[in-house]
């Protein structure tokens, strides 16, 4: 259990409550990365202020899981509860996918395959600035279907952008099925390694292991890919590993069950 103030269970409750109120899906995708984002915001990212030019950068390349990011930004104090409650309402900056106009969001995402290039550019900028700020990009495993991810991977490795860390949320699910059935990306670690990255495999729901992986990522002289083995829908038994929770909103009964499980899991 993380001792950080970005409590993953509090994040899960936000994900469930806001998804239910807004009646939107992508719940499984958000729950999948809660523990990763929790560790990032509690223990890894150095962000004294979301507008500080020397802050570490974070790219949520799998933008459809933005609710997990909003939850962390809220618990971090960068986003008010009132702003959070505007999620997916008319006129809000908090849409299903994150927008840079919202303080705390460094890059607008939503279409897969863009974020690692943004992050490589951000890491290159840090090098040109002779800054020690770091850049993190969180991708989905299915996002690695996109060729542009590998263009960015080649560039970062060639230029030894060691301040760049990619985290791949390996939940084995994608929009229409299991990644193993849709487009086999394994052995993913070998693939990243062959592109010149240091792959680190980790249980993506174990905060201690994640912290160790991030420390390892920061220590090397080549970019690091943390392959976080996760379960889509983690924390809600009837969502875990179930492809429909990529899209579906919850009924009242499902919401009650999900909340009970998350509270019990504290």
């Amino acid at each position: 259990m993380s001792t950080s103030k970005i409590d993953p269970n509090a994040m899960r409750r936000i994900v469930l409550a806001e998804s239910k109120r807004a009646h939107v899906g992508h719940i499984g995708s958000a729950l999948s990365i809660v523990d990763i984002v929790s560790v990032l915001y509690a223990d890894v990212l150095r962000i004294p202020d979301p507008c500080d030019p020397e802050r570490d950068r974070f790219v949520l390349s799998k933008g459809h899981a933005a609710l997990a990011l909003y939850a962390a930004l809220t618990l971090k104090g960068f986003l008010s509860r009132q702003e959070l409650s505007s999620y997916c309402t008319d006129g809000s900056l908090l849409g299903v996918h994150p927008e840079r106009d919202l303080p705390g969001v460094d890059f607008t995402t939503g279409s897969l395959g863009h974020g690692l290039s943004f992050a490589a550019g951000a890491a290159l900028a840090a090098r040109l600035d002779r800054s020690d700020r770091r850049t993190y990009a969180l991708l989905s495993d299915a996002e690695c279907n996109e060729g542009s991810v590998w263009e960015a991977a080649m560039f970062a490795a060639h230029h030894r952008l060691f301040s760049l860390t990619a985290i791949v949320d390996c939940n084995g699910q994608q929009a229409l099925g299991r990644t193993a059935d849709v487009l086999q990306m394994e052995p993913l670690a070998d693939r990243w390694q062959s592109f010149g990255w240091r792959p680190v495999e980790v249980d993506g729901h174990d905060p201690g292991a994640l912290k160790t992986a991030f420390a390892e990522a920061a220590a090397g002289e080549s970019p690091c890919a943390i392959l976080a083995r996760t379960a889509a829908g983690k924390g809600v038994s009837f969502m875990e590993g179930q492809v429909q929770w990529h899209y579906l909103p919850m009924t009242d009964e499902q919401y009650a069950r999900a909340c009970a499980e998350v509270v019990a899991g504290q």
């Binding site: 460094d106 890059f107 951000a122 263009e151 080649m154």
Partner: protein, 306 residues
């Protein structure tokens, strides 16, 4: 023009340390001086235009002014969504430099013909579009726009030694520049093909038709007020562009005429048919597709009902 443009960029980069140049492995011999002058701000990113656009977005977020260099078709079309979701959506000052408009890559064939780059970029309202007509204007246009907020697409000619009489390097964002005055009709032209537009105006003069030739180098922001004013003064106009007849200058002028209820008959001189397998030099291809002086003159006579 591209050498001239690259030299102007190098001059700017020497004094403005925010300027970074990325190339997707193109620009043989053209970018060497920049690379020597600013080695730490020059990156050949490899044959990877999509990643180049994403890198530029990341660099711009940190306050840099990244230039992305490639052949116009590759620069605009391969990374189209990256440009849209990157510099355009973020309103970042990334600069895209596309070399070779229309058939300037001639014998290289249809994969290298930039016939829809302006239209594609014009569909993105955030993307400013600068299309110099000669070398002096290219250098001045770069100096005037390199530091603008928001992204810019520069369509830069591959032809060297381009000098357009009467232009004198003038460039103003959102304005037109008149290089020849006449009372009978208007020829509005964009880019390096403007030398053909001027040649057509000279042919027509021999027949007693005196056309004004206006250069549109700022396609976005569009020179709306200038064009509306000019179009209202003439009974007939021809637009000239090394581009498909749809999407670029001809479309802009047609929109202005229709929306403004302007009494001016328009003919668009551009490429109407998709290129076939036949290739040849630029002049041959321009003639084959009707973007040459004879056809510009013919279209103006047609617009004038002569």
């Amino acid at each position: 023009m591209r050498t001239h443009f690259a030299q102007a960029l190098e001059d700017i980069a020497r004094s403005d340390k925010r300027v970074v140049l990325l190339t997707a492995d193109l620009g043989f011999g053209v970018l060497d001086d920049f690379a020597r002058a600013c080695p730490d701000r020059f990156f050949n990113v490899g044959v990877a235009e999509a990643n180049m656009a994403g890198l530029a977005t990341g660099l711009a977020e940190a306050g840099y002014i990244p230039f992305m260099y490639s052949i116009a078709t590759f620069a605009t079309l391969r990374p189209y969504e990256q440009l849209r979701n990157g510099p355009a959506l973020h309103r970042f000052p990334a600069r895209l430099v596309g070399i070779g408009g229309g058939f300037e890559y001639g014998i290289n064939g249809p994969t290298h013909a930039a016939l829809e780059d302006l239209g594609a970029m014009r569909l993105q309202p955030a993307m400013q579009i600068v299309v110099p007509a000669d070398e002096a204007q290219a250098a001045n246009a770069l100096r005037a726009t390199y530091d603008l907020p928001g992204p810019v697409y520069y369509r830069i000619s591959k032809r060297e030694g381009l000098h357009l009489p009467g232009l004198d390097g003038r460039f103003r964002l959102g304005r037109i520049e008149t290089i020849l005055a006449g009372d009978d009709a208007l020829i509005a032209s964009i880019g390096a093909i403007t030398d053909e537009a001027l040649a057509a105006a000279e042919l027509l003069r021999e027949e007693g038709i005196r056309a004004t030739v206006a250069v549109v180098s700022s396609l976005n922001p569009a020179p709306v007020a200038d064009l509306v004013d000019l179009l209202a003064r003439f009974p007939a106009a021809v637009t000239v562009e090394a581009h498909y007849a749809s999407g670029g200058l001809g479309s802009l002028v047609a929109e202005l005429i229709a929306e403004g209820g302007i009494d001016c008959r328009l003919q668009r001189c551009g490429v109407f048919a998709a290129p076939d397998a036949v290739s040849g030099g630029e002049a041959h291809m321009n003639q084959r597709h009707g973007i040459d002086r004879e056809n510009i003159a013919r279209l103006l006579r047609k617009a004038l009902c002569r």
